[in-house]
């Protein structure tokens, strides 16, 4: 119980809430454990629980008809997921999969509604959480809609071709994202698309450019 209370106190949903209030809320919280790579939520299906990650990491993503994955968020301890469908009553907006063993705390939709009705501070906190979510997703929409990220990533690759194997410059996906002015999740998808187009091959810690001309064409087209 002490662990659960300490955890609840530390998360944005329940910040500035009295200990007495938290104690009554903690009675409504249930635990759920999951192993690596378990699907916790499936996009389009219905799940009536709001989840908080207590330990481990959960990946929230959407999948296209062709099976392409776009990560929407990486949910770490103290953060929540499935907030939107809890409050609008609709189906799950995205899928969620564990990236390792996780411990989740869950609250049922109807109980969360009662909590929000009875605790104005929590209602305000929920608004803050959802506003942050909107801000993050708007930024992702901007990246995916208006920026020719694939061309920028292609340009970065061409500009950083090393000479002798093992001695060339090295770049992380995070660094490529910073250079392209986008999110790391978008770089990951761009690399996959370039690989599917047959112009690069990702071989463990090497990105092998197999068709430089095609890569340059992608750069030109996206400008």
């Amino acid at each position: 119980m002490a662990v659960k209370l300490d955890f609840l106190k530390s998360i944005l949903y329940f910040s500035d809430v009295s200990l007495a209030e938290l104690e009554s809320i903690s009675n409504l919280v249930f635990e759920k454990t999951a192993d690596r790579a378990e699907m916790v939520l499936l996009e389009g299906e219905s799940d009536e629980n709001l989840y908080f990650v207590a330990s481990g990491v959960v990946k929230v993503f959407k999948t296209s008809v062709e099976g392409k994955e776009q990560i929407l968020s990486i949910v770490r301890p103290g953060e929540s997921f499935n907030d939107v469908s809890i409050f609008d009553g609709g189906p799950n907006t995205a899928s969620a999969q564990t990236m390792g063993p996780v411990l989740l705390y869950g609250i049922k939709r109807n109980e969360m509604e009662t909590i929000v009705q009875n605790h104005p501070q929590i209602a305000l906190n929920v608004i803050k959480v959802l506003a942050r979510r909107v801000r993050h997703l708007l930024s992702l929409v901007e990246d995916l809609s208006f920026k020719h990220v694939i061309g920028r990533v292609a340009k970065i690759l061409v500009e950083h071709i090393g000479g002798e194997i093992g001695h060339g410059p090295r770049l992380t996906q995070q660094e490529m994202a910073a250079m392209a002015g986008t999110a790391r999740e978008v770089v990951g998808r761009s690399l996959k698309e370039l690989e599917e187009a047959g112009v690069i091959k990702v071989d463990r810690h090497r990105i092998v450019i197999t068709d430089k001309k095609a890569l340059q064409k992608i750069i030109e087209v996206s400008h």
Binding site: G100, G168, R170, R204, H205, T210
Partner: protein, 68 residues
């Protein structure tokens, strides 16, 4: 020795998120700092880098040209 992710111990806050997501059990928190305990070939999934909030673990790619 197999290539492994690069750790910057001074940036590590010891949260251990990377340990949980590592598929080849190559990582452990030792004295509150992330450490590589196995030098088996990791598949460079980069999940450890993805979940790290402090930039303490990095999976850099070498970019090479190899046209047939």
């Amino acid at each position: 020795m197999a290539e492994m992710p690069v750790i910057e111990p001074q940036k590590c806050n010891g949260c251990g998120l990377c340990v949980g997501v590592c598929r080849c059990n190559a990582l452990a928190v030792v004295n509150n700092v992330i450490t590589i305990i196995e030098t088996v070939e990791c598949d460079w999934c980069t999940d450890c880098e993805l979940v790290c909030t402090t930039g303490a673990i990095r999976c850099p790619f070498e970019i090479i040209l190899q046209e047939s």
